[in-house]
């Protein structure tokens, strides 16, 4: 009799389990929506942006990097606006068109081609003296840890179209 009783769930245990179960269910029910709401941006798939005409004819692209600016329609949640973008565009030795994002891979400042007199033929970031070779690869020993991002690119009717910045092909 007493052996049998040990196997049973006591009244107190049963109540405990029931209360914990119900309480856990209620807590989960209470928390699931707020948590899902908070992490929504992380789970949202980022729709690939359209490529925009940057107003530059491919004939005007030389081996010297030139800065081009254009604007895109940006949707930030409920807020839509025009934002400016810029790129450094040039033709490399194998005649490919290259468009680098000017955002420094160290902490997000803006780099310029030959931005410092001391470092010709390099991209230079004034914030922490970050440097990149002409092919976008970061100079070892300077703050950036990765090469400059490259824009998605398309050429239509002799005009240059650029999309979102993507990691450098060598990264």
């Amino acid at each position: 009799m007493s052996e049998e009783k040990k196997q049973q769930v006591s009244r107190r245990q049963f109540l405990n389990y029931t209360l914990m179960g119900v309480g856990g269910f209620m807590a989960a029910g209470l928390l699931i929506s707020p948590v899902r709401m908070a992490i929504d941006p992380v789970l949202k798939s980022t729709g690939a942006g359209d490529l925009a005409n940057v107003g530059l004819s491919v004939d005007d692209i030389t081996s010297e990097p030139q800065r081009i600016d254009w604007s895109i329609d940006q949707v930030d949640g409920w807020y839509e606006s025009q934002v400016n973008r810029s790129a450094w565009v040039y033709r490399n030795d194998s005649d490919e068109i290259i468009a680098f994002s000017p955002i420094c891979k160290h902490l997000g400042c803006v780099v310029s081609w030959e931005g410092s007199d001391q470092y010709p033929d390099e991209f230079f970031c004034p914030c922490h003296d970050g440097r990149y070779y002409k092919d976008g690869v970061n100079v070892p020993g300077t703050p950036p840890l990765a090469p400059l991002d490259e824009y998605e690119m398309e050429i239509k009717d002799g005009m240059l179209f650029l999309g979102d910045p993507k990691p450098h092909r060598e990264a």
Binding site: K44, Q74, Y79
Partner: protein
């Protein structure tokens, strides 16, 4: 009159043990600056809390004018700075207090560290203190964006890039903070506002409660 009100309540719920638990305790001689002036180092924790109270009060009043919206945030801050009587002072308290609280926190931490007051049995309270430090830094980081001026925007840009460097979860962490994969904008501002005004203060209050209860339970560490 006040005595009568007190007596009326006391008769019903026996107030004395409550306020005695909160307020009536010995301050040992070695931590009392009236006995040894050098004991002022024991004040840094209390001063930190004092400044925290100022931050909470001034922050509460600032939200009467502040709008966490990218069109209006800067304008609302500008308006209260220039048009509202005494608002400059309240925002000044919040602005400077934010720095003072970090300074006091560091002095308090240094005192505890160099006196070895964190040693057994007070390790738990040290850990709670470290968490409090992180919450404070979080409050400073999220509050910095709210005026939505250039300095705030680019400081946050950099801060988010730093968060992105966290191994494995960096990208997700950045999106979770910024509310968008690439934009620091409308959703970032509302998120930072919510974190600054609701989430982190809630964590702060909970941790402060534990911090103080542990002090009361374990007492102040003995003289050196």
């Amino acid at each position: 009159m006040l005595q009568k009100i007190y007596d009326w309540i006391d008769e019903r719920i026996d107030l004395q043990p409550i306020w005695r638990d909160i307020a009536d305790h010995e301050v040992p001689e070695h931590v009392n600056p009236a006995h040894h002036f050098s004991a002022f180092v024991y004040c840094f924790g209390g001063l930190t809390f004092f400044v925290v109270v100022i931050q909470i009060l001034s922050g509460m009043f600032l939200t009467m004018y502040y709008v966490p919206d990218i069109e209006n945030a800067w304008r609302s801050v500008y308006y209260l700075q220039t048009e509202v009587a005494h608002a400059q002072i309240v925002r000044g308290m919040h602005h400077w207090g934010a720095s003072v609280v970090i300074v006091m926190l560091l002095l308090h931490t240094l005192r505890v560290f160099f006196q070895g007051a964190y040693k057994k049995p007070r390790e738990l309270n040290w850990m709670v203190g470290v968490l409090l430090f992180f919450v404070m830094l979080g409050l400073g980081f999220t509050g910095y964006l709210l005026p939505w001026d250039n300095k705030a925007f680019f400081a946050t840009q950099v801060g988010l890039e730093i968060a992105q460097q966290v191994p494995f979860i960096g990208d997700q962490l950045k999106i979770l903070l910024a509310g968008d994969a690439s934009i620091v904008g409308a959703q970032t501002l509302t998120r930072f506002f919510a974190i600054h005004v609701f989430f982190l203060p809630a964590a702060l209050f909970a941790l402060l409660a534990v911090h103080f209860i542990l002090i009361r339970r374990q007492g102040i560490s003995g003289p050196l």
